[in-house]
Amino acid sequence: MKRLRLAVVVGGLVVVAACASAPDQPPATSVDDSTRAPRLIAVSSEGAIVADPRTATFSGFERSGRQVWIDHEAMAAGAEASCLAQCPDVVFSGTFDQNGPDPVPREIVAGQSSQLDISTAHIRRVLDARSLSDAVIVENKPGEGSWLRVAPSGTRIPISSTSMVWAQNLDRTEAVAFSRSEGSSQEHVLRFHRADGGWRLVDDLAPRGKAWGTKAWGACVAGQNGPILLVGEEPVLLFDDHRRLPLHTDLPIPGECSLGAVSGVVLNRTINGAGERNTSVRGIDLAGLQTWSRDLSGEAFVAMHPSNGLVALTHNGKLELLDSQGHIQGVRDSVASAMFTASGELVTIGLDGKVHWSDL
């Protein structure tokens, strides 16, 4: 019997209200450079956000595997997507132009899209938000400068650039923020901890110019009392006691990372002159030393388990689970992307577009 389905188009958002229990299924894909596979953007135990390069869409999946929304506008507009209090409820904010003006942030809650009246500033980029009243937002108003606004505390932290990196641990209790821009060496690495129903600035580490130079563009946070890993041209581990350990790998530029309680992973991506994408993946320990390596054709994605050192490595349409020494512990076929939840559940999206939660 044909499944009944009601699709309502609201400003580029298609809210899919399924009248049957079967999930909406995106088309199957192959993995190559011309049809890049869908990838998980954020997950929780309740749901997941997926970005699909083939259709230039973001979509939201419930834990049941049902697709509850799909958005056709945000990716084309350069907006960032992050989960609200729980995935797949989402907030979209920002645009391509670093100088703004930014469109009004938008949320999709329970499949319903609406403007999020969280800021009236010229630039208004949500770094993390559980709700309207519990958020960290990059704001800029002409003539007034730029700042991070933390709600509900009302804290305003002046910043020199609105191009901010925000990274948080899986249970969203520890975070770090800093400017991505060059020439901001006097700006500090801001460390946040979640307490009393909101984010609190708990440490204002040394100016980044003294910490690691001026060329970091990504970060990973392991957890409470764990180190922060900053990646870019001069990668470094920063510890709570302000110790700094330079990262030593054979990668020319560790450009991305994932960090767990006992180990981490960094990677480097290239497009060669033949148009082929390659990914070099390196395991690291918390002393900043390289422990294993994999050089892979195509695009690979990595995710660290929060506590036990397992790495979910997806490449060429398969998932490998690796231990902290890079040894393969298990393989699953037809997986496009994988992430862990805060409790250590494995979330995967298959080449068939289905999203699945499982215990290891």
Binding site: K215, N272, G273
Partner: protein
């Protein structure tokens, strides 16, 4: 805004191109090229050639260009390099340009690279980088070649 005219006869503007701010400095930073640079190349004959590649990272649904890398196989110390990040729309001639970098007349032969920041390209785009090289040849005219990181 800084302006200069290089040997390609192009006015170099440090400005925003189409969508993304060209925030990178024109200062050169020489770094070892990765192994992938040996695969893509263009040749101008008489032993003048260049290899090239791109380093990038991914964040969410977007790719960010980190470095343009090249190796100039022959030439003096006044070579020129241009690099443009584009999206393949199959138009053949009007692909949108996300970022343009044009060197000064001072690129030495051998390994070279240029750092890039803030160039954000949706993963939905078929991103590629177009390179152009002018080789510094004593006494005779400067040969040139171009190529791109595109498998189409």
């Amino acid at each position: 805004m800084k302006m200069k005219i290089n040997k390609l006869g192009v006015v170099a503007l440090r400005s925003t191109v189409l969508i993304v701010t060209a925030g990178a400095s024109v200062a050169l930073s020489i770094a070892p090229a990765s192994a992938e640079t040996s695969i893509g190349s263009c040749s101008a004959g008489d032993g003048y050639y260049a290899n090239y590649s791109v380093a990038y990272h991914n964040s969410g649904a977007y790719d960010y260009i980190d470095r343009y890398n090249w190796y100039i196989g022959k030439g003096g110390s006044h070579n020129n390099v241009e690099a443009r990040t584009k999206a393949d729309k199959n138009f053949g001639r009007s692909d949108p340009t996300y970022h343009t970098w044009i060197s000064g007349d001072d690129i030495r032969a051998g390994n070279g690279s240029h750092p890039v920041s803030g160039v954000k390209v949706p993963a939905s785009e078929k991103m590629y980088v177009e390179f152009k090289f002018v080789f510094d040849r004593p006494r005779l005219g400067d040969p040139r070649c171009d190529g791109h990181t595109r498998n189409v």
